[in-house]
């Protein structure tokens, strides 16, 4: 993410925003399956872009943070660490 900041900086999107993008995609699918409103390429692209535009900002920093935590814990508990 060179344009907007380093990956180390953990600033995940607000939960309300994440829920909103998940719901927008679900609404598109449910309305299509129930026959209320047909899902078009445009609605799929828009809802998918919203979901794909928000979720990586949550998943990738948390994944990196989690992996670092696991590696750090392993180092602390290893016999060579002296802790």
């Amino acid at each position: 993410m060179p344009l907007s900041g380093a990956l180390k900086r953990i600033r995940i999107p607000r939960p309300t925003l994440m829920i909103a993008v998940i719901i927008s995609m679900l609404v598109d699918v449910v309305l299509n399956d129930t026959g209320i409103h047909a899902s078009t390429t445009m609605t799929r692209v828009v809802t998918g872009l919203l979901f794909g535009g928000v979720m990586p900002w949550c998943i990738i920093p948390l994944l990196i943070e989690a992996c670092l935590q696991l590696i750090y814990k392993k180092k602390i508990h290893s016999p060579d660490s002296g802790v």
Binding site: P15, M18, M25, M55, I59, L62, A66, C67, L70
Partner: protein, 182 residues
């Protein structure tokens, strides 16, 4: 500070959700949408785990969500395979028929639109029939289990991280204690 609660209970419950969604015919179509059922199970396991925390415990970390998601995915894969095999044994090939109907509708739509050449559609049908024939055998079930054991933990882990992003931070509750009398 107290130790964190045991992860196994929440992971088993998350795995049960994954297994129920992915194993029951019809309900498993939810997984056509980005493996939504598996993501939901992973997120649910994190939500349930977070409920077990008290203010005196160490805080929930993203590594906990990652591990919970992976464990829930493994349990979910085992339950899904078991449930699918049981449903096929008891009710017969219900799922196969449902998938066949779904596939027929899909190919019909594609034929009407003319977006895919006829040869490709025939190949799709042949491959589908072959996959359905293999699905009922022990080899097919074992192959499905291996694929599930690879894919489910990955998607469940992502679900766990999304769940951590949504429910992760628990606001500390201020306990009102009576003033000390001197």
């Amino acid at each position: 500070m107290l130790e964190k609660p045991n992860k196994l209970r929440s992971a088993i419950l998350g795995g049960l959700v994954i297994g129920a969604i992915s194993g029951i015919p019809g309900l498993n179509l939810l997984n056509c949408c980005c493996c939504a059922g598996i993501l939901l199970g992973g997120a649910m396991s994190v939500y349930l785990y977070r409920q077990e925390f008290t203010n005196e415990m160490l805080p929930l970390e993203s590594s906990d969500a990652l591990i919970l998601g992976i464990i829930a995915g493994i349990i979910g894969a085992l339950i899904t395979t078991l449930l699918s095999a049981m449903i096929t044994l008891i009710l017969g090939p219900v799922e196969t028929e449902m998938m066949r109907n779904f596939m027929e509708k899909l190919t019909q739509k594609l034929e009407e639109r003319g977006s895919i050449p006829q040869g490709t559609l025939d190949n799709m049908r042949d491959q589908f029939e072959e996959a359905m024939k293999e699905g009922g055998t022990i080899g097919g079930i074992l192959r499905s289990l291996v694929y599930s054991l690879i894919l489910y933990p990955i998607f469940s882990m992502l679900g766990g991280l999304i769940g951590f992003g949504i429910f992760g931070k628990k606001k500390p509750t201020i306990s009102q204690q009576p003033p000390m009398q001197q």
